[in-house]
């Protein structure tokens, strides 16, 4: 809770910092703010609090999810340099502030106890992201991405709200546990059909936010058009928060109708895995490939949600952590590589841009390789354990229910190897420019850190897993 309040204040403080002549304090200050929020977050460890008359709830699960979100934000901010291309039009203070505000929204989505809070958290997050997506004002691609994201996002919000309204009509409450007791308590007249329709609408809205197929169509365009830094931010923070919210909503309120949403989710899972992975194969831009890969990872995470075993939250946590770290690394390397030789004034994000990377900067190539290997789910990396835990939940739920999903997931992770390795092939096996790429110390530190984390979590998953 302290973390939510402090982050809101820090965001405002950040706006004031923007008045300072010197911009050099901004980045360290923002990093410090995030670190402070992270520490404040940990204070509540092993305590359960409910705030504002059942509006928010903090517990260890909340702290775990928000720690992952804050860690990812920290990493993203640390690899940021300037926003936009020319000095005159950049307003770093604003962007840092908006990022902090969006994290506030994400944290509210993780800890909500009332659908009002879920809605507000979702909107704070989304509206901030609309702005961040369009932050490269001069670039038509960024504009277009922002407009698409905005129109589709508010459309999804409308559907999501309509669902909430219907659920409210059926149950008479926005409170998660109250809805839960209505659903599983079984009212004498039977569960109102409004609830079923409402649940489907809510699901559609949430699945849109986490970019699960068939609600994923906006993802590639938006991720592709947005400045890469914010793409990294979106694809990690939104996903983690979205899944935390989805899992919480479905398990606390709608356990009673598991049979209904389980079927919907398994269908969506299979579709997401197929669409995400197969389309990713055909991309010629690494950025778009990573966008589709984020769709496919939504599919893997959905497996754990659909399985709904006691182990699901920790599986989702571990998977989000592994995925976030690897994705940030991937995008961090992409930012550096793509800006080396711009094509027509915009970064070169094709696979060819990575040719010969191992020669140009071994560290970049190595951390990229580790992150791709982790995303592909190969042992001794964090991504493997993520897949392992997720698949375990499915096996635990029973093969008769989840067998089909597992088969698809297995086949698709093999497809994943193909497109992730294309990047590794380009950077190690192909020859390209030999001009070395220089990196700043902080950037280098972040890359080393994320790579070490990926391998460390791969070797000793129990260290973190025990906390979950």
């Amino acid at each position: 809770m302290l973390s939510i309040i402090s982050l809101s204040l820090f965001g405002i403080l950040n706006l004031f910092l923007g008045f300072l002549k010197s911009r050099r304090v901004l980045l360290p200050a923002t990093l410090l703010f995030i670190a402070l929020a992270f520490a404040a977050n940990l204070l509540d460890w092993n305590h359960q609090y409910v705030y504002f008359r059942d509006m928010l709830r903090t517990n260890n699960l909340f702290i775990n999810f928000s720690s992952i979100i804050l860690l990812t934000t920290f990493l993203t901010v640390a690899i940021s340099r300037s926003f936009g291309t020319d000095e005159e039009h950049t307003h770093p203070a604003e962007y840092y502030a908006i990022m902090l505000f969006s994290v506030v929204g994400a944290l509210m989505m993780v800890g909500f106890e009332n659908l009002i809070m879920l809605f507000i958290g979702l909107e704070i997050l989304s509206v901030s992201l609309y702005v961040l997506t369009g932050s490269d004002k001069r670039s038509l691609r960024s504009n277009e991405a922002a407009l698409k994201y905005f129109l589709m996002g508010s459309f999804a919000t409308g559907i999501f709200l309509f669902g909430i309204a219907l659920v409210y009509g059926a149950t008479g409450s926005f409170n998660l546990s109250a809805i839960g007791s209505y659903v599983s308590g079984g009212p004498t007249t039977g569960i109102s059909p409004l609830l079923y329709v409402g649940l489907l609408f809510i699901l559609a809205g949430m699945l849109f936010k986490v970019s699960a197929a068939p609600f994923h169509f906006w993802t590639p365009d938006v991720y592709d058009g947005a400045p890469t830094l914010f793409t990294a931010f979106m694809s990690t923070v939104v996903k983690t928060a979205g899944f935390a919210a989805l899992y919480r909503l479905l398990t606390v309120s709608f356990t009673g109708v598991y049979g209904l949403w389980w079927q919907v989710l398994t269908g969506v899972t299979v579709l997401t895995l197929l669409v995400g992975n197969i389309t990713a194969v055909y991309q010629s831009s690494v950025k778009r490939m990573l966008a589709y890969s984020s769709v496919s990872h939504a599919g893997y995470l959905l497996i754990a949600v659909a399985a709904k075993t006691p182990q699901s939250p920790s599986a989702i946590l571990f998977y989000s952590l592994a995925y976030s770290i690897a994705t940030i690394t991937g995008f961090a390397v992409l930012i550096l590589v793509a800006e080396q030789k711009p094509i027509e004034g915009r970064p070169d994000e094709r696979y060819e841009a990575f040719n010969g990377l191992a020669k140009r900067n071994p560290l970049l190539a190595f951390s990229l390789a580790v992150s791709m290997v982790s995303l592909a789910g190969i042992p001794l990396t964090a991504g493997f354990w993520g897949k392992f835990f997720v698949f375990s939940t499915a096996v635990d739920r029973g093969m008769t229910n989840m067998g089909m999903v597992l088969v698809v997931a297995v086949l698709m992770s093999v497809v994943g190897v193909y497109y992730y390795f294309r990047v590794i092939i380009a950077s190690y096996l192909k020859t390209g420019d030999s001009e070395p790429i220089g990196i700043r110390p902080l950037y280098r530190f972040i890359l080393v850190l994320t790579t070490a984390l990926t391998i460390g979590l791969g070797l000793f998953p129990d260290v973190v897993r025990q906390l979950f």
Binding site: L115, I116, F119, I120, E123, V127, Y130, V131, G134, K137, R138, L140, R141, N143, E144, A145, A146, L147, K148, F150, L151, S154, F155, T157, G158, I159, L161, F162, I164, A165, L166, Y168, G169, G172, S173, F174, L194, F217, P220, D221, D224, G225, R288
Partner: protein
């Protein structure tokens, strides 16, 4: 005695509200899916949100539970924030291509 607002609301049966709100909502969806002008799409989204508001108010009155009406205020406030960001984005686009027809936006191909 003056009738209270819930009483007035309840002179119309609840299903009528549901059907009316659903109709508005569907009109909004159709608008989003078929129109090409960004402003009109945006207005259609607003119609969807207002359908939700109407529905919430109706439920709230029938259940004599203020929570639904509180939610409506939140939706209105958030929608206002969304409008300002959305219009800013549309203005930004208009400055670049002198049009707000979403059919012209095809630089990103999926």
């Amino acid at each position: 005695m003056q009738p209270t607002i819930p009483d007035v609301v309840q002179t119309i049966p609840l299903p009528y509200y549901i059907w009316f709100a659903s109709a508005l909502f569907v009109i909004g969806i159709v608008g989003v899916l078929t129109r090409r002008n960004a402003i009109i799409i945006f207005m259609s989204v607003e119609v969807m949100l207002n359908a939700v508001n109407l529905l919430l108010v109706a439920f709230s009155a029938y259940r004599s539970d203020p929570a639904g009406q509180v939610f409506v205020f939140f939706i209105m406030a958030v929608a206002a924030a969304e409008v300002s960001v959305g219009l800013a984005i549309i203005v930004m686009i208009y400055r670049n291509i002198q049009s707000i027809d979403i059919g012209l936006l095809n630089r990103l191909k999926g």
